[in-house]
Structure formats: C-alpha cells, structure tokens
Symmetry: C2
Subunit: 328 residues, 2 copies
C-alpha cells in the first residue's frame, strides 16, 4: 500500500515517515495489514534530509496544497492512507488570514475530495490542534466533549477540518480520524512562525549554548507532548478500529500541563554539567495573547480508553531530545 | 442604508423583508440607526409575491450564491447589512453533498468575503440551525456551550459558517452574529425537501382540508419556534450591542419542545369546528433518522439574558398561522 504524508518535509512529518517505514505496514482499505511499498512526503519545500527504506519507493513531492490538481495527483491509488499534517501555523495564520484559508481549509478540502474519489474507504488521519479551544466560553479543563471556540484563524481551520473529517466519514467517503495535538516538544532546528515556537526554544536553544529570550512570563502554563508520543499517537489513531472511535472522530491526545518554569527546571536537571545558554524574558504581547487563548489542562480519559501511548515526564522528553538531536 | 437578504424568495426571507421594511431602519456600520433606502432579496428564483415599501428601492436578484462575482455584486455599498438565510436544506443536503458544500459553504464564504471587502464593519446575521447538534456525544439538553457534532451535511455547513462568522468578527472584517434556529412552524405553501417539512405539514395540510401522512411516529419530539418569533429574533440579534454577545457570536434562539402528538392536539383545539384533513402515519426511515439526530431540549438562558423575544405557546402559533395564511 501507499502512504502519503502532507507536511512531510516538516519535523513531525519526517519523524512520522521514519516511524511508519520502521513498522513497515499499516491497515489498508481492505481491512488487512498490508506492507508499505510507496511513501510520499508532500510539502511546499524539499525535506532537509533523505529518507529511505529497503523495498519502499520513498518520494518527496513539492507543490501547493491549495492547488486541486496537485493534490489529486498525489492520491493515485486505492490502497492508500493519508496523514494530513500540512498547515500554516498559528502565528503565520494570524499574520496572513487568506493564506491560512487557502492552505488549511481549501487544501484540506482538496485532499478529502481526492481521497473520496478513490474506490474503498482509505484511512485519513488529520493532525488537529488544541488551538480549536479558546475564548471566554472555554472551561478550565478541555476534553473531547468541549465546544470548539478557537481564537486564531489556525484554530478555526483546524476545527472546520475536524467537522469535515467527521462528515466525509459519516457519508462513507473515507475513514477519517482527527488527533488534537498539544504543543509538540522539543522541536529541533530553528525557531518558526508558530506562536508556540518558544516552548521548544526555551529547551533547545540553551542546550545548544545559545541565549534565549522568552516572549511570555515564566509562569505561563502550556499543554505539551513529546514528539515520540505524538508520532506513536498518530499511528495508533490510524490503526484503531473505527467502531471504537464512534461518530465524533476527533480525539485529544494525552498531554502534560507544565509551566515554562518547570520546563526550565527540568532542563537544568537533565543538562547536568552542560553549559546552557542564558534565559531572559522580553514579553511579546502578540505571542502572549495567542498562547493565553490556548487551554492548559486537557482531560484525556477517552484517549486512555482508546489505548493511546502514555506520555513520559518532562525529564524523559528532554533526555530523548538530547539523544536524538543534540550533538555530544 | 442597504439590506441584503439571501434566501430572500423563501418563506422566512420574505417575512423578514416585510418586517424590516415595517421597522424602516437598522443599526448601520456607523453605529447609528439609519433609514433603509434599499433592500435586495437574493435567491435562486424569484419570490412568489412582490414586496414594496414607500421610499425604499426593493429589488429581487436571482443567481447562484456559489458564484463569487454574483455575490460580490450584491454587496456594493459600505452602509449595508446582510441577513444570510440562503441554504440547501437538511434533506436536500443529504441527497446532494456537493450542492450543499457549494451553496452552504462556498456561498457563505463568498458572502463573508464580499462584506469583508467593504469599508467599516457591516453587520452580518447568519441563520444557523439546531442541526449543528447530534450524534452519540449530544447531551439531552443542548445550549450555547454544547459542542457542535452535526449528523447531516446541512448541519456541518451550518457549524462551519458559525466558526467563520466568529473568526471574521474576531479579525474585525465584519460584525457577525449567528442565530441557531429550531424548526420553524408553521410554514405555508407546499412541503419541501427539508427533513423537518412534516413539522409544519402536520398542521398546515389538515387545516387546508388535505389528508397528511406523517413520516415519523406521533411520539417524536421536536424543538420548534413560530415564524414571528424567529423573524423578530433575527432582527433583535442584528440590533444587539456586539459587546454583550462576546467572542462566541452564535446564540440559540428560544424554542418550545413539543411532541407531534401535542401539535396535533393543539391543532384540534384551535381549529374548533373547521373540517381537518386526516392524519395517518407511514414511517419514512430516512426522515426519521435525520430528525432523531436533532436535539429536542434547548437551554436558552443566554438568549433570555440577551432579551430575545419569548415564544408563544403552540395554540398561539397556530392561531397566527390561521390569521396569516389560511383562507377564511
């Protein structure tokens, strides 16, 4: 079978691709577990590293997800699965509303339509976000039954795609599932346009010996999850029996609620004798406002009941990051 | 100022137009109450009756709301208000998914974009529906804080438009408000493709001496509201101070929870000595399933707090209908 990962050049997309290739098979539209013989990483730009596996045609395709023809060309087999991770991020969506609508909403619709056009009901895993929650109506603890009241255009497009995934599934056009992701830590590489960029930055930059300026107070709470648990969660969601998910196909992944201060403390514990860059605070009201609109406590009973992988603690997440990405 | 009513050839659109013309003024983007000098009824077909008022240019425009240029041509002034009622109805949307997406979703987006392109923040009142609720996750009583889990494509598109109205408002592109309508009774004229068509039919047809076949059991509960209260509610929502609505711009209108049997009893009470058509039951599983996915009990504390007109009882609703539409 074929696997398509949109946003495949991104950090999560690449990790997901490697993990999927390591496993080597997924549940196909036939209902059976089938070996993966083709994997496509789709994104606006080439990934920074080559990914390969014996006996699997791994290709990278670059293009505009807002272009219908481009998207339809990707979905050219019936024995296919899609992981839809491509997205304009939160900060980027606030700065360019039209681009967020084109990429996140129109692009998502093209992809749903392309999968619908196949014979059978391919599985479709959509990476949604805790950013679907927010605003005055948001309760202290959010969960799978909480109303979606996003306060960013990014969050709005994620909430809309969750609705569409539900309806395409209800209609039998595909077998869709949405995972609401908390903030992923620790992202390697450079800071990006996401308002949540600092959540990884405050660990990554000091570990690389670089001074880091926090745009929010140290007391800020965030709901986070390590990238290993996120990737395993996306694959677990793909493999789940659809009957167990029910008619609301969106599942909030488990997460940890931590303050920035607790992250810094864990960093210092795990870093040991490493020389860390300094951390100072210089408030950025734009980022602070976006981040404060997000939920910090997430109930995940449903995810637990559905067998999603448990998250490690902060120290373990940081240790993995050092092992995976920080040069010794 | 100018008022545009989409779905203006429909029953509610025409009643709303007449009521708006009767009042003669609305709150304009300037913040002041301004006299209405132009009113456009937009729909796919001409309304069945002419509507006019002294000193107001009343026009009907027919066209496809899925065509961007057509929609932009409608919104040609800055001092404008829009009531967006046009929609593929529930049963129609189940039968033609693509048409529902084109009219309800694409059409709604064109309209939001056209209003956004104006200077200032025109008010935009969107007629949403209780059909945004449904499915296994739906609580017995639904309200403004209940998650939207629609089980029809119609409901999905309504939920999506509510999200978009919230975001366009948050961004300052327009001043949007959404009213979640229960089933409107008593619709005059012929039965239509809405799965809820029988709710009016079971009163209207017997009153007109026509036998009526119920597609659902008499014990079926529905949440209903008379058309006078719906129209007054839409205008009240338009006039409300936006600050009072807050960041979630969707408000559930008040409604009555009644069984079909209670409606028939009220009909017999109010009809007095009139000769009524017979009512028989012939179950239609398609309609029954759609209707059973809808909520029947709706909390409306927020609507009450915001001063929405209270609903009359069933007898009064039927008396109004006889006065307005049934020939003596």
């Amino acid at each position: 079978m074929k696997v398509v990962i949109t946003g495949g050049a991104g950090f999560l997309g690449r990790r997901l691709a490697r993990r999927v290739l390591e496993i080597g098979h997924l549940t196909a539209p036939s209902g059976a577990s089938e070996p993966i013989d083709e994997l496509v990483l789709f994104d606006v730009s080439e990934p920074s590293e080559a990914i390969s596996a014996d006996g699997v045609a791994v290709r990278t395709v670059t293009g505009d997800i807002g272009d219908r023809g481009t998207v339809f060309d990707l979905i050219d087999r019936d024995d296919i699965s899609v992981f839809h991770l491509a997205s304009i991020v939160s900060g980027g969506g606030e700065r360019d509303f039209d681009l967020a609508m084109r990429v996140n909403l129109d692009g998502g619709r093209h992809l749903l339509e392309a999968v619908r056009a196949r014979v059978g009901m391919p599985r479709f895993v959509f990476a949604s976000s805790l950013a679907v929650f927010g605003g005055a109506a948001m309760p202290t603890s959010v969960g799978d039954a909480t109303k979606h009241t996003p306060q960013t255009t990014y969050g709005i497009t994620k909430a809309i795609l969750e609705l569409l995934v539900n309806d395409y599934t209800r209609k039998g056009y595909l077998d869709g599932r949405s995972a609401r992701l908390p903030t992923v830590i620790v992202r390697p590489g450079k800071p990006n346009a996401a308002a949540s960029s600092f959540v990884s930055g405050v660990i990554r930059e000091p570990l690389n010996g670089i001074d880091f300026t926090l745009p929010v107070p140290e007391t800020t709470s965030v709901a986070v999850l390590g990238y290993r648990a996120i990737v395993d969660g996306l694959i677990h969601l793909h493999e789940l029996d659809g009957e167990r998910i029910g008619d609301d196909r969106g599942v909030g992944l488990p997460s940890l609620t931590v303050t920035v201060n607790e992250m810094i403390e864990a960093l210092r514990r795990v870093a040991g004798t490493r020389r860390l860059g300094d951390i100072t605070v210089d408030l950025d009201p734009f980022i602070r406002d976006v981040v404060e609109s997000w939920p910090t406590v997430c109930a995940s009973e449903r995810a637990a009941k559905l067998g999603f992988p448990n998250e490690q603690d902060l120290d373990e997440i940081i240790r993995y990051f050092i092992k995976d990405y920080v040069e010794e």
